[in-house]
C-alpha cells in the first residue's frame, strides 16, 4: 500500500495521520482544550503548524485563533504534545499513545507544580472549583469511611471534624495560572507557574476601544478592562504566557509578551535548546545553558571529591 497522509476534521477534534503498510502515526487536537495560542507553532521544527487568525466581524468580539497542521509537513516527532500548556495535543504510534521525543529523551516535559493541603480546607468551601477557568478542579467531601456526601448533608452533620475534604485537580491539563491559589482563603493550594515572563501593554499604541486581547485570553484576570481609562491592563500574576493575545492584537508592539523561563524536566537536547530560544530569547536560552553547564561542572567536582575520599 502506498503511503497515505490523511486529515480528518470533526466538531471536537482535528486529526492528521500518516499511514504506512506496517506503521501508522496520528496527531490529534482536542478542540475543546485548545485555546489557539502560539506555543506549538513556535516549537514545531517542521513549521507544520499554523495558527490561523479568525477574521473579526464588525461589532462582534474577537474570536480565538484556529489551530491547523499540515499532514504533509508533520513528521510526528511529538514535540508539540509535551509543550502544550493546555495538553490539547496527542500523538499516537500504531494506536498507542507515544511521544517519540520523550521516548528518546530528546525533549522535556513541562513541570506542573500544584500542591494542595486539604486538611486546611473549610468543609463547604468550593472557591477553587468555582474560580478555575478550565473546570479542572472538583472538591469532594468525604464522610468517615470514605463515602462522598453533598455540602447540604455535610452542613447537617453533627461531627464536622470527622469529615474530610478531597480536592481533585486535573494537573496534566493545567496551564498553572494560580487563580485557585490566590482565591483560596486558607492558603491550602500552592501553584508554581510553568512559564514566567513579562506581559505589557503599551498604552500609547493600544487603540481606543479595542479589547481583542481580553476577548481571547483563556485566563480571567490576566488581562482586565480598567473603567477609568477604558483600556486593557495586564496582571502577570495570572498570565500563563501562552501568547494567544499577541496573535489577535491588531497593532504592532501594542502588546509585548516576553517569556523568560520555562519550568521543565531536565533534558540535554539541541531540539529543546532551539525551542527554548524561539519561545523565550537567545539571552534566556544562554542563561539556561550556563546553569546547566554549572550544574554539570558541580556534579563532576562532587564525583571527583567522592572518589578522593573513597581512596
Amino acid at each position: 500500500m502506498p503511503l497515505k497522509e490523511l486529515k480528518t476534521d470533526t466538531e471536537n477534534t482535528l486529526t492528521i495521520e500518516r499511514i504506512l503498510h506496517t506503521k501508522r502515526y496520528s496527531l490529534t487536537l482536542d478542540k475543546t482544550l485548545c485555546v489557539g495560542c502560539e506555543i506549538c507553532q513556535i516549537t514545531c521544527p517542521r513549521e507544520a503548524i499554523e495558527i490561523k487568525k479568525t477574521p473579526k466581524k464588525n461589532g462582534e468580539k474577537a474570536q480565538r485563533p484556529i489551530f491547523d497542521v499540515s499532514e504533509q509537513k508533520c513528521s510526528y516527532c511529538g514535540m508539540c504534545e509535551p509543550i502544550c500548556p493546555f495538553s490539547a495535543l496527542e500523538v499516537r504510534v500504531d494506536g498507542q499513545r507515544m511521544v517519540p521525543v520523550l521516548e528518546k529523551e530528546s525533549f522535556p516535559k513541562l513541570i506542573r507544580e500544584i500542591e494542595v493541603d486539604p486538611t486546611k480546607c473549610d468543609i463547604d468551601c468550593i472557591d477553587c472549583q468555582e474560580v478555575c477557568p478550565l473546570n479542572l478542579i472538583s472538591v469532594k467531601i468525604l464522610a468517615p469511611g470514605g463515602k462522598e456526601i453533598s455540602p447540604e448533608e455535610a452542613r447537617s452533620m453533627p461531627n464536622k471534624e470527622n469529615l474530610k475534604v478531597k480536592v481533585n485537580i486535573e494537573k496534566n491539563l493545567s496551564p498553572c495560572c494560580r487563580l485557585c491559589e490566590l482565591k483560596c482563603p486558607k492558603g491550602a493550594i500552592h501553584v508554581r507557574k510553568i512559564m514566567h515572563g513579562i506581559l505589557r501593554i503599551n498604552l500609547e499604541k493600544c487603540p481606543d476601544g479595542c479589547q481583542d486581547c481580553l476577548d481571547v485570553c483563556p485566563i480571567p484576570g490576566a488581562l482586565y478592562l480598567d473603567e477609568s481609562d477604558r483600556k486593557v491592563h495586564t496582571n502577570e500574576t495570572f498570565c500563563v504566557f501562552c501568547g494567544t493575545c499577541t496573535i489577535v492584537c491588531p497593532v504592532k508592539e501594542a502588546l509585548v509578551l516576553d517569556r523568560r523561563t520555562i519550568h521543565h524536566t531536565p533534558v540535554s537536547s539541541g531540539a529543546w535548546n532551539k525551542a527554548l530560544e524561539k519561545l523565550t530569547s537567545a539571552k534566556e536560552y544562554s542563561k539556561e545553558a550556563k546553569t546547566k553547564a554549572l550544574t554539570k561542572a558541580k556534579k563532576m567536582a562532587e564525583k571527583r571529591l567522592l572518589l578522593k575520599e573513597a581512596s
Binding site: P2, L20, H21, K23, Y76, C77, K104, F107, A271
Partner: protein, 819 residues
Amino acid sequence: MAETPRVGVFVCHCGLNIAGVIAIKELIEYAKTLPYVVVADDNRYSCADPGQEQIRKSIENNKLNRVVVAACSPRMHEPTFRKCVMETGLNPYFFEMANIREFSSWAHGDNPEQATEKAKEIVKMAVAKAVLLQPLEAMEVPVTNKAMVLGGGIAGICAALDLADMGFKVYMVEKGESIGGHMAQLDKTFPTLDCSICIEGPKMVDVSRHPNIEIISFADVLRVDGYVGNFKVKIRKNPRNVIADNCTGCGECRDVCPVEYPNEWDMDMGVRKTISVPFDQAVPLVYTINKDYCIECYKCVDACGARQAINFDQKPEEVELDVGAVIIATGFDIYLPTDDQRYGYGKYDNVITALELERLILAAGPTRGKVVRASDGKKPHSVALIQCVGSRDVNKYEWCSGFCCMYAVKNAILLKEKYKDDVEVYILYMDMRTHFKGYEEFYRRARELGVNFIRGKASQILEDSKTKNLIIRAEDVALGEPIELETEMAVLCTAAIAKKGSDEVARIFSISRGTDGFFMESHPKLKPIDTPVDGILLAGACQAPKDIPYSVSQGSGAAGRAATILSKPKWKIEPIIAVVDQETCQNTRVKCAICQKVCPYGAASAPENQPARVTPAMCHGCGTCVAECPTDAITQMHFTDEQIMNQINAALEANPEEKILGFLCNWCSYAGADLAGTSRFEHPPTLRAIRVMCSGRVDRDFVLEAFREGAGMVLVAACHLPYDCHYISGNVWMTKRMQALKGMLEKLGLSPERFRIDYISAAEGSKFAEVITEMTEQMKALGKDRILAENEKLRPIIDRMLARKKAKKAAPTISASSK
C-alpha cells in the same frame, strides 16, 4: 586543385537487392558519361572480399584518385570501403558512397524504371561531391585510462568490477546512499530462488574493497565536458552530515534518534530513523542524516562520542573526474498506478505492487518476512497476482516489461512454499513469457505447486468495504466469459519505466532517449551497448527493462566496450571538423562570436579582436557554426559549401521542378529514410537527398541555391525538438534559421508547402515515407506551371542574395555539368 580527378564508379548488385530492381548495365553506362569518371564497373557483392579486391585492383590499374561505390547506405558500409580504399594507399576521404539500395531499389521496388533514373542521379550527385573531396588525416588524442560508471545497480557493479579487474581505475558514481540498486530490494531471484542480497551483497563488498574502484555515493553528475578518451565529469557529493571516514557503521546513533520517516527503500511501507542507512547491507556503510526530518536534538552526536563522525555543517562538495570512458547504468523505475482508477491502488489498503510484496516477503523487510494486509495486519489466505499493469497497454506503456511474468511466478512459488495450503495463489495474465534458460521449467514448477493460472486481463478491482477483501473482475479467455474472483490481497505487477531524471542524464551526456524514455543505443542489433557519443556506453535497464542475468551480461559487455577505448594509448577521431579561415573571419573587426554562441560543445572560441578558432578535439563536426557564420569563414571538412553546392547542382540539373531536394541529418532523418527503405515503405521517387551530419549544417544559401536552380520542393529534416539532436542543439539553431528564411521566402511569393522543415527520428521510417508522399502530392497539386512561375519571380532576387557566394566561387576549377 593539384591533380585532375580520376573517378571510378563501382555499382553493387547486392545480390538481387539492387540488381533485382535497377538496370545495372544502364546505370554503368550512364556513370561512364559523368565528368571525370574514368571507369565504371559492377560487382555482385562489393562489400565482400572479391568486390573489395576488384576496387583495389581498379584503383591501381586506372590510377584512380576518387572512388564512388553505389550500393547500400553509408551508415552501413562507409567504414568498410574507406578501409578498402586506404589499403591501396589512397586517402580514405577520397571515397564517397551512393545509396541506391535503401534510397532507391528498396524504396521503389514497384517502379524499376524510375528507380533506375533516381539511382542515376544519386550516382551523379555522389560523383559531383567526389570530384571536390579533399584528403583528411584522422586526428589522434591521448586516452585517460580511467572509467566512470554511473549507477551502482547490478549492471553497474559488474561493469565496474570487470574494468577494475582488467587494471583500470573506476569511479562508481551513485545517486543514492548505497549501491545495490533494485536487486538489493528483492527477496529471492528467479529461476533458482537464490536470496538476492546473498548473491549481490558479496559483489557490493567487492566493489567497496577493490583497490581500483572508488565509490562516490550520494552524488550527482553536474556537467560533462570533453570527448572520447578525455571526459571531464563534474560531480557534486551531497552532504550526508556524517563524515564517511569516521563512521564505523555501528548504528548507535540510529538507536537514540527519536524521529522516523518513510523509507523509500521499503517502498514507503516501513520507516527509517532520521539518521540511518536505507538497509542493513548498505555499501558504503555510512549513515546519513536526513535534514528534512531532523529536529537537531543532537542525541546522535552524544551517542557517536569520541568517533566524532557527525558534522551538521557539512557542505556539498564538488569534484572533477578525468575519465576516458563512461558507462551509464542508471536503471529503471517501477510504475505506481495511482493514476489508474481501475486497480484501486492507493484507494484500497490491500492492493499493493509487486515490489511492495518483495519488501514484505523479505526477511529483512519492515515486517521481517511476514506477508500482511495493510487493513488488519493479518496474513492473506488468497492472493491474486495481476500481470501487465501499465505494460503492453497502448494507453499507458506500450512495451512488455519483460521480467514481470517471471517474478510473478517466483512470488507465487514463494507464497506457496511459505504458507503451503494455507494460501491460494492466482495469476491473471495475458501471455506467459518464460523464455531463456530455466524459465519454462520454473513456470511448470509453479503449476505443479498448485498456483492457479487464469488467462485474462483484470479489468477492475473493487473492495468489499466490510472484509476489505478485493473483488477482481476479469475475462477468462479459456472460458470465454467474464469472471469475478474474491481474494484477500491483490498484487499488481506494474510496468518498468524509464528512471526519473533520465532526461537530465540524457542532456548532460548528450545522448538520446527513445519515445519510451529509455536511453537509445547506437544500433538496436549491432551496437546495443554503445550510444551515438563515442566513449559513452550503456549497461542494464536504463536502455530497456532487463532481468538480472541480462543486466549482468550487458554490464560485462559495456566493460569490454569501454576497455577497447581505455586499453589504447591514443584514440583516433574522425577529421570531419570545422576549420576557421583566419583571414576572412570578421571577429577581428566587429564583435561577432556567433560561432562561439552556437557551438554546443564549447569548441569554438572567439576572443575579442581575434579571429575565431575551433579546438579540433572538442569539435564534434555538426557544422552549425559553419552554417551560421555570416562571412562563410568556417569550413566543415568533408561537407564543404562547394561540395554540397555541387551536389545541389547535380541533383537539379534536369527537371528540377519535379523534384524534392532534401537535406537529411545523418543520425535521425537519414536513418529514418534508410529505415523506410529497409522496411520497403513505398513512396514516390521524387527525393534527391543530401546527407549532412547535422541539420544545423544546412546553410541558408543551400536552400536559396536549390530554389534558384528551380527545385520543386525543399525539405530540411532533423531530429525531433528539443532534445533528440545528436549534437545537442543543432536542430534548434536550424529551426530558428530556417523558420526565418521560410517566412521571408513566403513573403517573396513562395507557396508555403514548397519549403518544409520537419523532424523525423531514426525510428520513423513510416513517417519519412508519408512526408515524401505528401510533399509529392502537394507538388503535383501546385502544378508545374505555378512552380515555374514562382521560380521565375524568385530567381532575380535570389541571384542578388547569392551574389556574394557566387563571387567567391567565381572560378570553379571543377563543375558538375556534363562533358
